[in-house]
């Protein structure tokens, strides 16, 4: 270490904790500050569409950061994390949805819940906690698995919860959307949440827990021989990532003002995974870059789709081009940069 000649010899514990704060603060700030600058620029343009797109992108940052906590550190590709977004979104709706309409959408809510007036921030916290708690319970059983079996089991979990929520009419309005969630998720709220998610992910990553799980990811047998309990470490990451993904679901619901079970399904699974892989599967920086990159790419293509005036002519791509071009660009990135846009890099981390 370069900074080994410093006053910490006098108080090693204090110095170590200072060092540790630096190890969290530097990479977090290196991700959060550029996001803040981007948001300020967008706010200054005053374009509501741009603001809305950035807000959505930041919500995806939260979701993908949640994925990254588990996938990035454990190496297990989870097809099931959207489950936690689903749980979070509905749990928040139970507490905050639509005033007197709450009982019309969700007639079987217990009275105390149907009439509760939970402050929005607290509701989000409780909802994300529920998602984290469900992750913990599921993880107790599922974290014994690794590799493909784990991926498939997690996909199956998504199926189970999707089907259950679709048929739990009295609490979820079945397949119908619940409309009228308070739309408090502005650009700044989304930025704040993204900052929190980045901070949680960084805290986890630099902690001894993150290190031990990465050891499991690299070589499970060697990690166990080194005294690491693989199950515990996976479970810790799974729970935290369930919490963060749950938070992402809450935000998405309160961004649109409406939620339905079908929103939290294979499309979102694909999109969030694609963001993570395009950015860099094993890096939080990759998660953030991937989420922003895919969001920006979608919008750029759409600009063409809506038409660009060149002189008196309108250049316009036919409707439906966006998804096709998006898929081709994603494939090209996977082919030409299989390690993702940033690879293993973590900004703000000294090596």
């Amino acid at each position: 270490m370069t900074d080994s000649v410093d006053p910490r010899r006098s108080s090693p514990a204090a110095a170590a904790s200072l060092l540790w704060i630096g190890r969290v603060a530097r990479p977090s700030a290196a991700l959060i500050v550029p996001l803040l600058v981007l948001c300020i620029i967008i706010a200054l343009t005053g374009a509501p569409r741009l603001e809305s797109i950035m807000t959505e992108a930041l919500i995806y940052v939260v979701l993908v950061a949640g994925l990254s906590i588990f996938i990035g550190n454990s190496g297990i590709v989870s097809f099931g994390h959207v489950t936690f977004a689903l749980i979070g979104a509905y749990a928040s709706a139970w507490q905050t949805c639509c005033g007197p309409m709450r009982l019309i959408f969700m007639p079987e809510l217990p009275v105390w819940m149907a009439t509760a007036q939970v402050p929005l921030g607290l509701a989000a916290l409780l909802a994300a906690t529920l998602a984290g708690f469900v992750a913990l319970i599921l993880g107790v059983a599922l974290m014994r698995l690794s590799g493909t079996a784990a991926s498939i089991a997690l996909l199956s979990v998504l199926f189970v919860f999707k089907t259950a929520y679709e048929n739990w009419d009295g609490w979820t309005a079945g397949q119908s959307a619940i409309v009228g969630l308070p739309t408090y998720v502005t650009l700044w709220v989304a930025l704040g949440a993204a900052a929190v998610a980045i901070l949680i992910a960084t805290l986890y990553r630099v902690s001894s827990y993150g290190l031990r799980l990465r050891a499991v990811r690299e070589d499970e047998a060697a990690a166990r021989a080194s005294g690491v309990n693989a199950w515990t470490q996976k479970l810790v990451a799974f729970t935290i990532s369930g919490f963060v993904a749950g938070l992402g679901g809450v935000l998405y619901g309160h961004f649109l003002g409406t939620i339905s079970v079908s929103m939290f399904w294979l499309d979102m699974t694909f999109l969030t995974l694609a963001m993570l892989v395009v950015g860099g599967l094993r890096s939080l920086t990759g998660a953030v870059v991937g989420a922003l990159f895919v969001a920006a790419l979608r919008e750029c293509i759409q600009v063409f789709e809506r038409g660009i005036s060149v002189g008196d002519n309108l250049l316009q791509a036919p409707e439906g081009t966006r998804e096709i071009v998006l898929a081709i660009v994603l494939l090209s990135i996977l082919i030409f940069r299989p390690q993702g846009l940033v690879g293993e890099l973590e900004v703000g981390e000294r090596r």
């Binding site: 270490m1 090693p12 514990a13 170590a16 902690s207 001894s208 290190l211 031990r212 990465r214 050891a215 690299e218 070589d219 047998a221 060697a222 990690a223 166990r224 021989a225 080194s226 005294g227 690491v228 309990n229 693989a230 094993r282 293993e344 090596r351």
Partner: protein, 239 residues
């Protein structure tokens, strides 16, 4: 208090094949025991049993009087029964320091003493300078040293080294012997050394245990084994 790791009549069978039969060994803290035997003799299987990766079909593993036969690898490791791997198995995409920190954190959860244990292990194997390199980029010999440092970072009571000198040239092998010889003094642990390289084994082990076909062929002090006709015939004779 000095501890003793023992196996009593350990037997391992896979699908009707017997990998180990009725093997009893003991290892004291502070000594180096050499485990010999031709390929397929069951040496690695025995290490797998001792480190919890393989559950024996019969027999027991004990430290003093405590039965650890069914303990998981990570539990054994935290209790000071630590191994290395024939194929090293480093955490490839992590730095050398992180590789050595993993067992430390598993044990001490990030305390300052833990950091120091990691540093001490790296210094012991002479890799303190390389601690910020990515493990996967190290040359082969250094990889093996990191593997040993990673095991030592747990401050083991018993350390099992599975062919640590494999693939090294004579000079490197000699340096390794010197290093291994210092382990009991430095860490106060017992070392079980699996090694094909006879000079290495003979240089550092006072006691040897020889396996053949999953059974104990001979066991005893170095000089005695060197003179054992069975051993000479079946193993040493080949050289």
């Amino acid at each position: 208090m000095s501890a003793r790791l023992t196996t009593q009549s350990v037997t391992v069978r896979f699908h009707g094949l017997t990998a180990l039969e009725d093997v009893s060994i003991s290892l004291d803290q502070g000594e180096i025991l050499g485990l010999l035997g031709p390929n397929g003799a069951g040496k690695t299987t025995l290490v797998n049993v001792l480190s919890g990766f393989t559950r024996p079909s019969g027999g027991t593993v004990k430290v003093n009087e405590i039965d650890l036969t069914r303990a998981r690898p990570d539990v054994l490791a935290r209790r000071g029964i630590v191994r290395t791997f024939q194929s090293v198995r480093l955490f490839q995409r992590m730095t050398v320091r992180e590789n050595v920190q993993v067992p430390v954190f598993a044990h001490h959860a990030g305390s300052v003493e833990g950091e120091q244990a990691a540093q001490r292990a790296l210094e012991f194997v002479g890799l303190a300078e390389e601690s910020d390199r990515i493990a996967g980029s190290l040359p082969y010999t250094q990889e093996r040293l990191v593997g040993i440092a990673r095991a030592l970072a747990l401050e083991p009571k018993f350390l099992m080294l599975d062919e640590p000198a494999a693939g090294m040239n004579d000079v490197e092998g000699a340096q390794l012997v010197e290093l291994i010889a210092r382990i009991p003094a430095q860490y106060g642990c017992g070392v079980l050394l699996i090694e094909h390289n006879m000079p290495v084994v003979m240089a550092v082990c006072e006691r040897l245990h020889v396996l053949r076909g999953g059974r104990t062929l001979a066991s005893g002090p170095r000089e005695e084994i060197r003179r054992n006709p069975d051993v000479i015939e079946s193993y040493l004779g080949g050289h």
